[in-house]
């Protein structure tokens, strides 16, 4: 397991950095926000990302993918973080696509993989119900109904849910909330009768939706994978996404850190650059140390996804470590970034606030610090 990008991955990282800086700089994200676009990302940009092959990166060649691995994907997400670029790469590809890859039938794969990879259709994962991410707590009921299923319940914080063509709904077909057994995945088209999708406007101005499923009927063929056995593939798809989200967090944090250090060198008070004050120097140096720790954890998390020798527990442990440490560093550094920018730091004019807001959402998404700390502990003790 290597913790540095290979030559090919580095090349992809450079291409991504160059492309995103030109086509999707932070100013573009600000514009999207000001326009109030419900999708939260630009269609044209997404199309270009698809054309560059990014949506095919993690999938095996047999499914039309590039089999380039999560490490390659991580390089793209880190760049997206640096530029604050919004796209459905995580929701539709890493979450949706991975679930179809890991749990889908041949027919489902044949129908969905090409459309997802080509960006013709977009999927979103409907999982969270409570204020905090907790997959096992899923309560939304799935009951057998004739040949198919009847879905009843609510979903929240569905990333890129507005305008998605279909949802993968995690439902409880057996057992009680809190249990890992008894969860099933269902493919629900956006226009299914009884399904109501409404936007949740959050601080990061991205696309989040809440879903109301009021007696939504789906056919038996809407079931993805085994009835009641969704946990394994769901957990694997979530880990892949957690590692990618951790890379995005890392990119955002790196940008904030670089910007802040630059500000410390140029902002003059008491006739000297404020970066000459030891009180600030030491805090900045600590930020730098935590950024390095986060980078190592993120690289290990990404590498773990590509390592066929790791079992599920080993994979989970490193994914949780990556998300935890990336979130931890992002938390520290985003707070310091605002504080060190002084009064300007709390104005909307500066980009610092945009990063802070996206960081907070990404920290909570797919499990916050407490969630991943707990999960790490579970897998350590299991060994």
């Amino acid at each position: 397991m290597s913790l540095v990008y290979s030559e090919e991955q580095r090349l992809l990282a450079d291409t991504a950095a160059e492309f995103l800086l030109a086509r999707s700089p932070v100013a573009a994200q600000r514009r999207l926000r000001d326009e109030g676009k419900a999708e939260g990302f630009g269609d044209a940009l997404w199309k270009e990302m698809v054309d560059m092959g990014w949506s095919a990166i993690p999938f095996p060649e047999a499914l039309g993918g590039l089999a380039f691995g999560c490490m390659g994907l991580g390089a793209v997400f880190e760049s997206m973080g640096r530029n604050l670029s919004a796209s459905p790469l995580l929701s539709s590809i890493v979450l949706g696509g991975t679930l179809i890859e890991l749990a889908g039938s041949e027919a489902q794969q044949a129908e969905w993989m090409p459309q997802l990879i080509a960006g013709d259709k977009r999927m979103a994962l409907a999982l969270d119900e409570k204020p905090r991410h907790d997959p096992a707590a899923t309560a939304l009921r799935a009951e057998r109904h004739g040949n198919g299923w009847l879905l009843q319940g609510d979903k929240r914080f569905v990333a890129d849910g507005v305008g998605a063509d279909a949802f993968i709904v995690v439902a409880r077909s057996a057992g009680a909330p809190g249990e890992r057994d008894g969860l099933s995945l269902f493919l629900v088209p956006a226009d299914a009768p009884g399904l109501q999708v409404s936007p949740m406007q959050m601080i990061d101005s991205r696309n989040h939706a809440q879903l109301r499923l009021d007696g939504v009927r789906v056919d038996a063929c809407a079931l993805i994978g085994e009835e009641g056995g969704a946990w394994g593939p769901l957990d694997a798809a979530l880990d892949r996404s957690r590692a990618c989200l951790a890379a995005e967090l890392l990119g955002m944090t790196q940008n904030l850190f670089d910007t802040t250090v630059e500000y410390l060198k140029t902002r003059v008070q008491f006739d000297v650059p404020i970066g000459s004050f030891q009180a600030l120097q030491h805090r900045a140096a600590w930020c730098y140390a935590h950024l390095h720790l986060a980078r190592s954890a993120v690289m290990a998390g990404l590498a773990a996804m590509d390592d066929p020798k790791l079992d599920a527990a080993g994979r989970a442990r490193l994914a949780s470590l990556a998300k935890w440490k990336a979130g931890d560093a992002a938390h520290r550094i985003s707070r310091e970034a605002v504080q060190m920018h002084g009064g300007m730091g709390v104005t909307d004019e500066l980009d610092v606030g945009l990063f802070l807001k996206r960081i907070r959402v990404a920290q909570a998404e797919l499990g916050d610090a407490d969630f991943h700390c707990d999960r790490y502990g579970e897998f350590v003790e299991a060994q």
Binding site: S2, L3, V4, V261, L264, K265, V272, P273, G275, S276, F277, Q278, L280, Q281, H282, A284, A285, W286, Y288, A289, H292, L293, A294, R295, S296, A297, M299, A300, L321, W324, K325, D328, A369, D370, C373, D374, Y376, G377, E378, V380, E381
Partner: protein, 401 residues
């Protein structure tokens, strides 16, 4: 097959045949072999491993053969290090001379000094100690006062050095002395090597809050040091001191790969002293969460050390990474031991005797010892200054250098 591949094959075979099985794997504290005039071996395997590596010239594999080294090219040396890492071979001996002074003599020493000092060093016959800090020159090392006064064919040294590890057990010392009291701080310093058996030297061990220690204070009372024992230019010692400290950091990080002295597995201690996750009080659950968070940060550090190794091998610039390692590790150790103290409650506060088991007493001492880790070898504050100025390029403040 290229030459380097042959070398790799031969090295692998040689290490496989010559490194005893018990000399592979992490090295517990207390099993270090110190080179010197009196080497203490705790096992026959330790002796074998020491002698075989010595005879091969691999105490200092990349030094020229004429000075007792192995004569390996940087490329071959990297292969040897990689192969030793692969087999988890322990360093055959610990020797500050080889790690820190040797490279400086190679770079700055005279030909006569190289011929006199390096071969015995390379055979592990001399135990070296370091005389840098003084009671009034700690983080501000350049303010040191121990004087060396020109007396014709020798210097006369007066003053005192402190925090000298194993000052009472070492054969020779390399030390910084003030040779020009009128020059500005950094300008009047020179580097001397001194035989610890010289008349007028006394080394007194220092007791710490954690108990007995290897640290000594060393006193110099009109000690005569021949002029041929001046290394580098007169009054030019500061440059050499900086080079030495760089070698120290490199040696420590390399050494860190082989051993984690006093390494305590946080989570196994937590598992021993705390009830399982689902059976504790809310206070115990909170403690467990603190222990986990600490363990995760520690894991991130281990991964960082691994990443630094990989980046070095890929010939990337790791100076930034290197600058954070000591700071992060020592601060984490301190925090970790505080968490363990809370996890173990009164059981971590025993001093000696039968009422506590040995692992508990060891933990108490490790906790008390951890306070020194963020002070010795460049305090955390000095490390932060270095990161801020040299890595981040933040401007110099009014408070001085």
């Amino acid at each position: 097959m290229s030459g380097i591949d042959d070398f790799r094959k031969e090295t692998r075979a040689w290490l496989g045949a010559n490194c005893p099985a018990s000399m592979r794997g992490p090295m517990p504290d207390g099993e270090l072999v110190w080179g010197g005039s009196e080497v203490e071996f705790k096992s026959e395997d330790q002796r074998l491993w020491f002698e075989r590596m010595r005879d091969k010239g691999w105490f200092c594999p990349d030094w020229p053969k004429e000075y007792g080294g192995g004569g390996l090219s940087p490329e071959q040396n990297a292969v040897l290090e990689a192969e030793m890492r692969r087999l988890k071979c322990r360093p055959p001996q610990i020797n500050l001379g080889i790690w820190m002074l040797g490279p400086v003599i190679l770079e700055f020493g005279s030909e006569a000094q190289k011929r006199a000092l390096l071969p015995p060093m390379a055979r592990g016959e001399i135990r070296w100690c370091q005389g840098f800090s003084e009671p009034n020159a700690g983080s501000d090392l350049a303010s040191l006062k121990t004087s060396a006064v020109d007396a014709g064919d020798h210097f006369v040294v007066n003053g005192t050095k402190i925090w000298t590890s194993y000052g009472d057990k070492s054969d020779w010392m390399y030390m910084l002395v003030r040779t020009d009291p009128d020059a500005s701080k950094q300008q009047g310093i020179s580097l001397l090597v001194v035989d610890m058996k010289s008349p007028g030297i006394e080394a007194r061990p220092i007791d710490l809050i954690s108990g007995k220690s290897s640290f000594c204070q060393v006193f110099f009372d009109n000690v005569k040091v021949p002029k041929r024992q001046l290394v580098g230019p007169l009054n030019g010692g500061w440059t050499l001191a900086k080079a030495l400290l760089q070698h120290e950091r490199r040696a420590m990080s390399k050494f860190g790969e082989f051993s984690l002295p006093n390494h305590v597995d946080l989570l196994s201690v937590a598992a021993r002293y705390l009830p399982p996750a689902d059976a504790g009080t809310s206070a115990e659950v909170a403690l467990r969460a603190r222990a986990l968070a600490m363990a995760m940060d520690e894991h991130a550090y281990t991964l960082t050390a691994q990443r630094m190794g990989e980046e070095m091998r890929a010939r990337q610039d790791v100076s930034g990474l290197m600058a954070i390692m000591k700071l992060v590790h020592s601060e984490q150790e301190k925090d970790k031991l505080e968490v363990l103290l809370d996890v173990m409650g009164h059981r971590a506060l025993g001093w000696e005797g039968d009422a506590f088991d040995s692992s508990e007493l060891a933990l108490t001492r490790a906790w008390l010892g951890s306070f020194a880790q963020t002070i010795a070898g460049g305090s955390s504050e000095v490390q932060l200054n270095v990161i801020a100025k040299r890595v981040l390029g933040l401007p110099e403040g009014k408070q001085g250098k």
